[in-house]
């Protein structure tokens, strides 16, 4: 028996896409040929798909392969619009944060296709359990920007009454569950919601959202265990944007296996999808949502993308990742790719693009003005301090009433 001393392995920092596990996924030329199984396929028959990368748009922007048929041109144009709007909204709110009108902001730059494309596969009544990087789910539904902005500004019109950190929206009517700051906790709640839907003979499905870094959290496992045992109608989304604040996906285990493969040990089918390819996103989302709705249980989807922006306005990525990291990222930009595709098939043009952007900027500027009219975190009308004691319970118990009085209300 060998008695060499052991050595300690710590994953080395590396450009995100250079890792062993990703190589298969980045044989991009083959990706468009990945098969599209029947909706009712057994999990055990599609294990290979967790190590592939489903794509529709090829290097030249053509929609090809078995996953290419899902979208009409109108859907694509509204997808492009939703992505552009999300990006413009992010840019504007980042500026507002820099202007100190609020405390904090988080962008989803580079990942817009995922939330926007996924939302287009859902129906009214379905419920997302999002993280802080799925504003696209709301924007793709044309949820009022002013409402979102008031939340970010924690102003008088904030429906969350100034209680939550910016971007921690809640919008029940939009099928957007209240965001928690605690990573992964909501993943298993989505499973519970879906179990309830099945128990009640409903037809609504749930969508759980998590980042690749947060898959390391314990509740990721809880969600998969319960999804495995009860087969509820839930799509388990893992957004692999390569980074969790400063740590590369290898620190979450991504160098050893794909995140999609996590599903196999639970007998849950998994897809691994180019998350920067709007057409692939929409197609895969439709597949998994239909599977859920047809009572065939849950699907895990790893969406491969890249976090182009800093983690949040509190973050400085130049401290931990190469400057050119995104530039050499092989999956490109989702907005540009969809634009090129639409242009290529004669359904879009540079001029229309420029015009749409201008329109959106104007819409956002108008909304920003309106939102700021109801105050910002630091100026103008304010959330009432007395309201701080509401909603801790459905009705206020005596000790909170006493404390509110102590504060002077």
């Amino acid at each position: 028996m060998n008695v060499q001393p052991l050595t300690f392995h710590v994953p080395e920092p590396h450009p995100c896409f250079g890792s062993a596990a990703d190589v298969s996924g980045f044989q991009l030329s083959d990706a468009v040929r990945v098969r599209r199984p029947e909706i009712d396929v057994e999990a055990s028959e599609i294990r290979d798909l967790a190590y592939e990368l489903i794509r529709v748009l090829d290097a030249d922007g053509h929609a090809v392969g078995p996953w290419s048929e899902a979208c009409t041109v109108d859907q694509l144009r509204s997808g492009l619009r939703a992505m552009l709007k999300t990006r413009a909204y992010d840019a504007r709110m980042t500026v507002m944060q820099r202007q100190r009108k609020t405390s904090f902001y988080m962008q989803c730059t580079g990942e817009e296709a995922i939330a926007c494309g996924f939302q287009s596969a859902l129906q009214a009544g379905d419920m997302n359990f999002p993280t802080y990087r799925q504003q696209g789910l709301l924007i793709a539904q044309d949820w009022p920007l002013v409402d979102l902005m008031c939340q970010v500004l924690s102003n008088e019109k904030d429906r969350m009454k100034g209680r939550q950190l910016p971007v921690f929206y809640s919008a029940r009517e939009a099928g957007f569950f209240s965001i928690s700051g605690n990573l992964a906790t909501q993943y298993v709640q989505a499973v519970g919601w879906a179990m309830a839907s099945a128990m009640r003979g409903d037809s609504r499905v749930a969508a759980a959202w998590i980042g690749e870094g947060a898959t390391a959290e314990n509740d990721f496992h809880a969600a998969l265990v319960f999804a495995s045992v009860y087969r509820p109608p839930v799509v388990l989304n893992v957004v692999n944007n390569q980074w969790a604040i400063s740590t590369a996906q290898s620190v979450a285990g991504g160098a050893q296996a794909t995140f999609a493969a996590r599903a196999h040990g639970y007998g849950i089918p998994a897809l691994r999808v180019d998350g920067n390819d709007y057409l692939a996103v929409h197609a895969a989302a439709c597949w998994a949502v239909e599977r859920a709705r047809r009572n065939l249980g849950s699907t895990l989807i790893e969406w491969v993308t890249y976090r182009a922006a800093p983690h949040s306005t509190s973050d400085d990525p130049s401290k931990y990742r190469p400057q050119n990291d995104q530039a050499v990222w092989p999956l490109g930009d989702p907005v540009e790719r969809l634009k090129d595709h639409l242009t290529g098939i004669g359904e879009w043009s540079e001029a229309r693009h420029v015009q749409l952007k201008a329109e959106l900027d104007e819409e956002i500027a108008g909304a920003a003005k309106e939102a700021q009219g109801s105050g910002t975190l630091v100026e103008g009308s304010k959330c009432s301090p007395a309201s701080m004691f509401d909603d801790v319970y459905k009705s206020m118990p005596p000790h909170l009433r006493e404390q509110r009085q102590e504060l002077g209300f």
């Binding site: 429906r159 209680r163 809640s170 928690s180 519970g192 919601w193 509740d219 909603d391 319970y393």
Partner: protein, 337 residues
């Protein structure tokens, strides 16, 4: 009125609510087919089907996590944690999620769930089957925490908890599941049928959350207790012959401060008895509150008789447990001070 054990009363509460409201579901480890290791859900799967009462994987976080999701959907889940000692993996879901969901969404979503868990020692369960973690819940804004001391209250409180729109932690003192226990572990076991509070109305009724009850009126000292300790306090009082007023808190949050304050103003002395470790136990909050509200009426310091600040031991169980001798001696000292 039929005489029930605590277990039967708890089961009956779920039965009544499952029959009345098809949104009520119950689940946990060994809860479905087997009916729970303490048999509290025995028969419910047979009666209501496995969509309403079912076994779960061994994952406390998952159990409470799905309960929160189901609650948000619109159900009324009653989740069982097999022992309170095993609630820690679920603590994040309870504290960060169930307790704050209504607040953070400004009422858009809520978690009207009940988390049942057997607590307390006295069964030679050692450190992982004996804990009383109530103070870990009472510190958390957004939770309600209740703990019955008899079958009548168990049923009424559990029905109230299931109907409550907020998350309720429902602690079940396992030592009194099958009979009242006054701490005299060396004496014959007494069944609930001998105790008047085992008489439990049939069908639906509630014991309101937030209301304490004076179990015995007295003039010399107020004893605050809950769960098993209500019985221990009564035995101790009787044995040392002190005219103590015994208050069964029943609901820790919200707390019935008025009943407590009235009593302490009357007696001028107060003792708190609980089984949990002393430091930062719920007794600390009670003591702090009483001296804030009754300072000028107190003739002696508020006294705490509690479990020691050690893990719950196995062989030394009866040295750890604050039994009638220890409570009695402390009562005498308190009357002398």
């Amino acid at each position: 009125m039929p005489s029930l054990t605590m277990i039967e009363a708890i089961r009956d509460a779920m039965d009544v609510m499952m029959a009345r409201d098809d949104r009520v579901v119950t689940f946990g480890q060994d809860v479905g087919r087997f009916g729970g290791v303490f048999r509290c859900t025995d028969g419910l799967q047979g009666k209501y089907g496995s969509s309403r009462c079912f076994d779960t994987p061994i994952s406390e976080s998952g159990i409470v996590g799905i309960a929160v999701g189901m609650g948000a959907y619109g159900l009324r889940p009653v989740a069982e944690i097999q022992f309170a000692d095993y609630m820690y993996p679920a603590y994040d879901q309870i504290v960060s999620e169930a307790a704050r969901l209504r607040y953070r969404s400004a009422g858009e979503f809520s978690a009207p769930i009940v988390v049942r868990m057997p607590c307390g020692g006295g069964i030679f369960g050692a450190q992982t089957h004996s804990q009383s973690p109530e103070a870990l819940f009472t510190h958390v804004a957004g939770l309600k925490t209740v703990i019955p001391s008899n079958p009548h209250d168990a049923k009424g409180l559990l029905i109230a908890a299931i109907e409550d729109d907020d998350p309720v932690v429902f602690l079940e003192p396992k030592r009194i599941y099958n009979g009242p226990f006054d701490g005299h572990h060396d004496r014959p076991v007494v069944p609930w049928s001998k105790h008047e509070l085992s008489e439990t109305p049939q069908g639906h009724y509630t014991v309101p959350i937030g209301e304490a009850v004076v179990r015995r009126e007295g003039a010399e000292v107020s004893i605050l207790a809950y769960g098993t300790m209500v019985h221990v306090a009564e035995a101790a009082r009787r044995e040392v012959g002190i005219d103590a007023e015994i208050i069964d808190l029943r609901s820790l949050i919200p707390l019935d401060v008025d009943t407590i304050v009235q009593s302490v103003i009357k007696t001028g002395r107060c003792m708190i008895v609980h089984e949990a470790t002393r430091t930062s136990g719920f007794g600390a909050e009670l003591s702090a509150l009483i001296q804030e509200k009754c300072f000028y009426h107190l003739e002696a310091p508020v006294v705490r008789v509690t479990g020691w600040d050690t893990p719950y031991p196995h062989a030394q169980e009866w040295d750890y447990f604050p039994g009638p001798d220890r409570v009695g001696r402390a009562l005498i000292r308190l009357m002398e001070s």
